[in-house]
């Protein structure tokens, strides 16, 4: 049963991250491959503060939000003045930089050895230790984040985001400060990703840089695309699908080294199949590629 709860917890954490990435990539059309970096910033901030300063979990999560928010702002300020593919490249560069810092600043981040022994979160004197308790703990983040993002996406602010995705020039001609909108949404996305990272650090209780690589960013993007860009519930479904199905590979009699690679192949294959037959994803309303056609007109 714990194994089942474990999968649900992982799905919950990835739902948070994927929903926040959906706000960027799905709603606004900002394809970022730096989301694992912000996820990692949340995880490392939380881990470091709880290990070295012994602060309570809510302070650490908030500190993670603050740290990734500030870093996202500093990163977005210059890079969101670029367009389309160039923006993807800047996020790619940023992802590599953050990974290098985690991997090489040994005295601070533990380098490749990571940070072990992150204590369990304590709420009102109760230590969250069992899988079931953790499942509720994670769910208590997934729900409000879903509701909050839904509210944002459904508002006039969200309407401007969609307009930026569909036709940036039109949004500008309607008097919208498109760059400011993009920076804001990028910062919101990064802070929520960091919440996911904090929860991950608490759950696994050990973090190392390999959990925050570009591969991880691309995996998050796959969840968004397969679940459906521009639809928040799609991101939850996408996370469930992409995490649940490969778990079945465990039950097939297969050496572990092969099974791990099979998973990568499976993700790639699924992405190709979706791109060919259902570019809008499971629940999405917007297909990747269409906005590019328009931009070239």
């Amino acid at each position: 049963m714990d194994y089942f709860f474990h999968i649900l917890i992982v799905i919950g954490i990835y739902s948070i991250v994927a929903m926040s990435l959906n706000l960027l990539a799905g709603y606004t059309g900002l394809i970022s491959v730096a989301h694992a970096a912000f996820y990692g910033i949340g995880a490392y901030t939380t881990a470091l503060l709880s290990l070295k300063a012994g602060l309570p979990f809510w302070v650490n999560i908030f500190a993670g939000i603050l740290a990734s928010g500030i870093i996202a702002f500093l990163m977005a300020w210059p890079s969101l003045r670029t367009f389309d593919d160039f923006f993807v490249i800047t996020t790619f560069a940023f992802q590599i930089i953050i990974f290098s810092i985690m991997n090489n600043w040994v005295s601070f981040t533990g380098g490749p050895l990571g940070l072990p022994g992150i204590p369990r979160p304590i709420i009102l004197g109760i230590t969250i230790s069992s899988h079931l308790m953790f499942l509720f703990f994670v769910a208590s983040f997934v729900m409000p984040i879903y509701l909050m993002l839904n509210q944002i996406a459904d508002s006039s602010f969200g309407r401007v985001l969609k307009a930026i995705r569909e036709d940036e020039i039109f949004a500008i001609s309607m008097g919208k400060d498109v760059i400011k909108y993009k920076i804001t949404v990028f910062v919101i996305g990064a802070t929520i990703a960091s919440v996911g990272g904090s929860l991950y650090a608490y759950y696994i209780s050990f973090i190392d840089p390999t959990s925050f690589t570009i591969i991880e960013s691309i995996f998050m993007l796959s969840i968004v695309i397969i679940g459906g860009a521009g639809k928040l519930s799609g991101s939850i479904a996408g996370a469930a699908l992409l995490i649940f199905i490969p778990e079945f590979l465990r039950f097939i009699d297969m050496p572990n080294s092969i099974a791990a690679n099979m998973r990568q192949i499976f993700y790639g294959l699924l992405l190709v199949i979706f791109m060919m037959f259902r570019p809008q994803g499971l629940f999405g309303e917007y297909s990747f590629g269409e906005s590019n056609k328009k931009a070239k007109q």
Partner: protein, 261 residues
Amino acid sequence: MGNTALENQIKRQSNRRMLELLEISKRFDGVFAIKDVSFSISLGSITGLIGPNGAGKTTLFNVITGFLNPENGTVNFQNRPLTGLSPFKIALSGIGRTFQNLRIIKGLSVEENILLALSEGRVIRSIIKAFERRDSKVEEEKVKELLEVVGLSDKRYDLAGDLSYGQQKLLTIACCLALEPRLLLLDEPVAGIAPEMIEKILGIIKELPSKGKSVIMIEHNLDAIMQVCDRVIFMDAGKKICEGTPEEVRNDPRVIEAYID
């Protein structure tokens, strides 16, 4: 009552220049797309901008609206220079524009397209507003009013992408009007649509000066230009060739030559 007050105001300001272009030049890869173009638009006028393809008409619109920076010259709007302002600020300062290749958000409804222009432009405030309530009553009324102006009231909740080409052109005009501009730059507002729709759009354009708005329109349809414009500017190869009343420009030998070629 309200009308005469507005008319008086228009009269008082009529010597004021709405828009003034001073020796604007713009080059693409060394070739002049616009060369030393100067003209001014007075308040409440409808000016036609004509000329063959590649004459620099749309480039001129892009310079006025800040999407392109000119190498030389200044653009003054209501006696203030627009130089260096970003395009969204120029839009907010009172210059609305439509595009030749129809820019609307096809995946949003007609109403939402208009609300896009009406809604709060300040980013942080708009996020706070997201948690307060839905679109306000004032905006609702404004949408209704604009849809009546362009005659799309029955299409309010339809997807913009499902409208006919002519209706989409009407919608772009409604979006543009939602900004409450003093000056409208319309890029080929009646190109490629049915004759009845042309009459409808021209009817809307003709009404604009009485609401204190000025218009510059690019159009290849000379009959439309003759019908609504009180001044016409003819451009060719990036230069302003001549300017005058529609009659004068139509009878200018250089214009005749360009259109017969």
